[in-house]
Subunit: 362 residues, 2 copies
């Protein structure tokens, strides 16, 4: 896996032209690009430029409807349910979180549930939108089933990430994690190394723990059984049922509350992917002086970072810190992309008539 | 560890007399007893009668104020912040969740944040209160620090359970889990077996993984360093930072939002324990016909239970199912208690003048 860098600003310009090339408006293209580059800025390769090709596929195959008009199907002062009508996930999610924030400004809390959307990228992006408004932001999404429930051998639940963000200084708290023990991308990375994954990450088609990355991935692709384990691993010994339960909570908050598809029916709706999301914004004014709350979060996070390190360790990170620290490096040194990813970008550039904006390799 | 059973109904009567003996009213004693016996009915020994002695200690030492009058310090149509003034945790929590439910009936959502309370028993009890009203119930509490953050060697975060409940047939969904990989009680059980705990459960005073149950427990008791690992285990390999982050979210939602003590200051307030809670009730009417939502949850849970079992397994449980199945057995066969627990009950009976109600061993 050879990596080369591409300039951040040039990549932004390129992306905006690509999305305009698919038919999105200037404003829409700017929004989608911002979500994509948030991932790369955080150093989360899996959800950034590396994944543009997946969206290219979904847009050009009509799974994502470029001209979708989402509809609010039910609304109260504290909530809304939206049918995305197969909209681009990033656009749908930004609109939904904006609505949750508006409601939280007026009513203290805003809950927005979305069905018939598509992959929305980093869950943390949307949680951060509320955080930047001085609120708690919560964002969840279901995905195609890949998690095998405790004692099962068939994937029934998605990677189902939970993101939670709250303002703090100097580093906001942003938690953004799949409820599986590892994401699929990590299996792919290990498969490329020496074909071995760690015990406790995945099960084979018989529901037995497997360290054979190729076999597990082929099973997932071919839907032959098995999949990734919940956070906590196999069986009950290390509490894998907790990760499985957290995954179920996300399934409930997304596919079920929105009236959309549950994880096991995602990509089987006959139209779009059927992915569903959940967003919540909570106004910190509910809990007294919001600046005081912010100070208390900052103090606690600092106390945790300053606490005694394990022998051999010199840094305790709080959630969002690594991403916060990654930003400057990416801005100055560029976004690392694999050669394969760059080849994909070339084809996407051609399809969207954006060749002149394709950033050169640094 | 020899177990003998005590009759469920007689234990209920005994408990009610015990709490009246401490000075709680008849109604208060009934409420506290109900929370205690919920744990035993669910087969969760650690939070039931076995723990009565701990509360005896906290009540008789004045950490729990039997006559506390909690005060609402801030209130909106969707929220309240309550100072518990060192109230009995179970009483405080029931009142707080009742308030959250009332608000959710009127406004769709109710959020109640509580500071200066005490241990409240099973988090799931309060989530279930909202579930029985046809709502989503969420309940969290901080506790004394026992979780060591990733790369740390000092306990900074509590066991910090998260409970979530939603109606479903025939078995409601009730998730109730500490964000540590295992609870402290599990270390105690393993220590009594052969003194060994599993790798990935705890770290010693140097922040290194340890399987020496005695050493880890002594360190915890003596505050010598080390503690229990977050869900996901040590380091980053199996995503222990996810359990650590979930624990931090609970710290934020409880001690920080309520303006109370964070986990690292619990039991160091100079008065009560300073434990803080968070409760949320969400009215399912927000998402359309609540009976339809209930049906969708039921269907998804059934599909998960019916999905292919791993070789050698014959049952996939959904969350709350084991507890649901335990109930009939306890009602007919009684509550199993250790001899040591029964000796404690005898002393408690004497202190509270409830000897005549002490259930005999079956």
């Amino acid at each position: 896996m050879a990596y080369r860098n591409i300039n951040y600003e040039k990549t932004r310009t390129f992306c905006e032209h690509v999305f305009k090339g698919y038919g999105f408006s200037e404003e829409e293209s700017r929004i989608i690009t911002d979500v994509f580059l948030f991932a790369d800025l955080c150093g989360i390769e899996s959800h950034g430029m590396q994944r543009l090709n997946r969206y290219h596929y979904e847009i050009t195959n009509g799974m994502v409807n470029v001209h979708a008009v989402p509809v609010i199907v039910k609304e109260t002062p504290v909530s809304a349910v939206i049918d995305g009508n197969d909209a681009m996930g990033q656009l749908m999610a930004v609109k939904a979180m904006q609505l949750a924030i508006e409601k939280a400004k007026k009513s203290g809390v805003g809950i927005v549930s979305v069905r018939n959307s598509n992959h929305y990228g980093c869950a943390g992006y949307y949680a951060n939108m509320a955080m930047r408004e001085g609120m708690i932001g919560i964002s969840m999404t279901n995905t195609e089933s890949i998690m095998v429930p405790t004692f099962g051998k068939k994937a029934m639940i998605g990677t189902n990430p939970i993101a939670f963000s709250i303002p703090a200084d100097p580093i906001p708290f942003t938690f953004d994690s799949a409820t599986t023990v590892v994401p699929r991308g990590k299996l792919e990375v290990y498969a490329k190394r020496d074909g071995k994954i760690r015990n406790g990450w995945a099960v084979d088609e018989n529901g037995q723990e497997s360290t054979d990355a190729e076999r597990v991935l082929n099973n997932i692709i071919g839907k032959l059984g098995g999949g990734i384990l919940p956070l906590g691993g196999a069986g009950e010994e290390n509490s894998g049922y907790k990760g499985y339960g957290l995954g179920m909570i996300v399934s409930i908050m997304t596919g079920i509350l929105s009236g959309g598809a549950t994880d096991n029916y995602v990509y089987k709706t006959g139209h779009g992917s059927g992915i569903a999301h959940f967003f919540m914004a909570i106004n910190l004014d509910l809990f007294g002086d919001k600046e005081e709350v912010r100070k208390r979060v900052s103090t606690f996070m600092q106390e945790v970072r300053d606490s005694d390190k394990a022998d051999g360790q010199d840094h305790i990170y709080t959630h969002g810190e690594k991403e916060f620290l990654a930003k400057d490096k990416i801005l100055s040194e560029g976004i690392p992309v694999q050669e394969k990813t760059y080849e994909e970008l070339k084809q996407i550039a051609e399809y969207t008539h954006s060749e002149e904006y394709l950033p050169e390799l640094m």
